[in-house]
């Protein structure tokens, strides 16, 4: 059964305490860094660093392995398929009809697979240590309009509710003898429709009452609003910011100005 999973895990680590804005910025910088680096060795070093950060955030192994399953599938696909479509360079390792497998092609495949692994895991640092509401709050503080942020946080608030509704409706239809994955494609579409329509209608009922609730709580009454919890940057956040910027700028300078391959 595919249920709803929230990657965030309660904790009180350095990463949990960090300002979410700094974490979002750090993830973006690290993403750029990963996309910039083209040496396998450097990528592996970076991957080790990211793994260290994930460990620092005390991410539970069960959730990490769950999230990694998808990435592993993609990595395997890249390692197998990349060389077939990238036959440049020598030495040629194997020839199968028109297909040519070369050593640089294989190396580039592996490098890209590791890069994808870095790109995926760097997000875990953010997702495992930051509650969803803090993510939205950070976005609003970074300049996203309040009403957009509110829409997003309401959406996140209802996500588990709707996932539970989907499960309950699935049960209700199964009790009527419906079997999801049986029959012709047309029959199957009808089976999924029998779940989606009640889900949508119950969601629209929610929207209907929600708009009243928003009005009755003086939504949009004032342009200026105050917040119960303000985000504060601390010294440790500044240090983290400096480290991340340095980690990006130094290789960037090396690559683009000193023409050193990284």
């Amino acid at each position: 059964m595919t249920g709803f999973v929230d990657l965030y895990t309660e904790g009180d680590t350095v990463l949990h305490r960090m300002d979410p804005r700094v974490k979002i910025f750090a993830v973006l910088m690290l993403t750029l860094l990963i996309l910039m680096i083209s040496s396998l060795v450097h990528l592996l070093i970076l991957l080790a660093f990211i793994a260290l950060l994930v460990a620092l955030g005390r991410a539970p192994f069960s959730k990490v392995s769950l999230a990694l399953r998808f990435v592993l599938r993609v990595m395997i696909m890249i390692v197998i398929l990349w060389p077939i479509f990238d036959p440049s360079g020598t030495p040629v390792l194997a020839t199968l009809g028109p297909v040519r497998i070369t050593e640089p092609g294989v190396m580039r495949g592996i490098t890209n697979a590791v890069r994808i692994c870095c790109l995926a895991t760097v997000w875990y640092v953010l997702m495992f240590t930051t509650p969803q509401r803090d993510l939205v709050r950070a976005l609003v503080k970074l300049g996203v309009r309040f009403d957009f942020g509110l829409t997003l946080s309401i959406a996140l608030r209802f996500l588990p509710t709707f996932s539970a509704t989907v499960e309950s409706i699935k049960d209700a239809q199964r009790a009527r003898g419906m079997e999801f994955d049986k029959g012709s494609p047309l029959r199957r579409s009808r089976n999924y429709i029998s779940v989606l329509i009640p889900t949508i209608i119950s969601a629209l009922r929610t929207a209907d009452t929600l708009s009243l609730a928003l009005q009755s709580r003086a939504y949009g009454a004032r342009r200026h609003r105050t917040y119960l919890r303000e985000l504060k940057m601390r010294a440790s956040d500044g240090v983290a910011l400096a480290v991340v910027v340095a980690a990006f700028v130094m290789p960037a300078v090396a690559k683009f100005f000193l023409k050193v391959p990284v």
Binding site: A172, R174, I193, I201, R205
Partner: protein, 286 residues
């Protein structure tokens, strides 16, 4: 000596639950050792406060949840190895929220969905659907979209769609939630009629007035266990146990309980009965 088929016929237990335990994936233990037999044609109310395990029990009977340990037999066969669709031939389950079942564009199609899934022959399908609609008094709205009906009608549609599958056992999960008194009495009368026609009825509720009026047997659940299993009068005479399981007997029962010091018996279930008992206690009939 006795052939298997005969021994099953002799055994009139339609549902037999033995030491059923169920733990949700999150680790919450919802059922901790339930044993319960329900005979053909019984009208059983399962009562208990929120979170006492009533719905979890019903979902285990339907096969929607699979026991962590223990067994559930439906018509002599273990639920564990069966598909839900084959259990649905014997057990029908009307969910608490009718809107979780309705999706077709007419009431008629909605009621036909279940029997179609079970592969019932097409030639008597119309008769089957019509019978179900009549028993829930819905023929006048059969061409309307279910969503445009009132809550009471929607609930009856969801029940009709279960009846159309012609199961021997009907489970009703809080069928009167959100209905006014007249609507819920009409619905309960329909359920009583189904029972008199031979259907086994399992009523999940915490409305004690319904229980007092309709059920012939009451199973009280608390914290995942059956703590009382008796006829309504027997259950209501045990006020302490009821209160401990977050249940409140109907006012007439509580009144009789107060009056018991004045010579009125406690096992009273209806206002008419109470009047009669008070008159008897006063000696009006002497």
């Amino acid at each position: 000596m006795i052939p298997a088929a005969d021994s099953r016929a002799a055994d009139d237990k339609i549902i037999s639950i033995h030491d059923l335990k169920f733990i949700y994936p999150g680790g919450v233990q919802a059922l901790s050792g339930v044993s319960l037999d329900i005979r053909r044609g019984e009208y059983v109310a399962i009562v208990g406060g929120n979170g006492s395990g009533k719905t979890t029990l019903a979902k285990n009977i339907m096969g929607l949840l699979r026991p962590t340990s223990g067994t559930v037999l439906v018509n002599g066969t273990a639920v564990a190895g069966q598909r839900i669709a084959s259990i649905a031939h014997i057990v029908g389950y009307a969910f608490q929220n009718p809107d979780h079942q309705l999706f077709c564009s007419t009431v008629w199609e909605e009621v036909r969905f279940g029997p179609q899934n079970l592969g019932y022959p097409a030639d008597d399908m119309d008769a089957r659907v019509e019978h179900a609609l009549r028993s829930m008094d819905l023929m006048s709205v059969k061409a309307r979209p279910p969503f445009s009906l009132t809550l009471s009608e929607r609930r009856r549609v969801s029940i009709a769609s279960v009846i159309a599958m012609d199961p021997e056992v009907l489970i009703f999960d809080e069928p009167t939630t959100g209905l006014d008194m007249r609507e819920s009495e009409a619905l309960m009368a329909s359920i009583a009629r189904l029972n008199s026609e031979g259907k086994t009825v399992i009523l999940i509720t915490h409305d004690m007035k319904l229980v007092a009026k309709h059920a012939k047997r009451v199973v009280v659940m608390s914290e995942g266990k059956v703590i009382l299993d008796s006829d309504p009068a027997g259950v209501f005479s045990d006020l302490e146990v009821l209160l401990a399981s977050k249940l409140m007997p109907p006012p007439v029962v509580r009144l009789a309980y107060r009056l018991s010091t004045r010579g009125v018996p406690r096992d009273v279930l209806s206002p008419e009965e109470l009047v009669l008992r008070i008159m008897m206690a006063r000696g009006d009939f002497r």
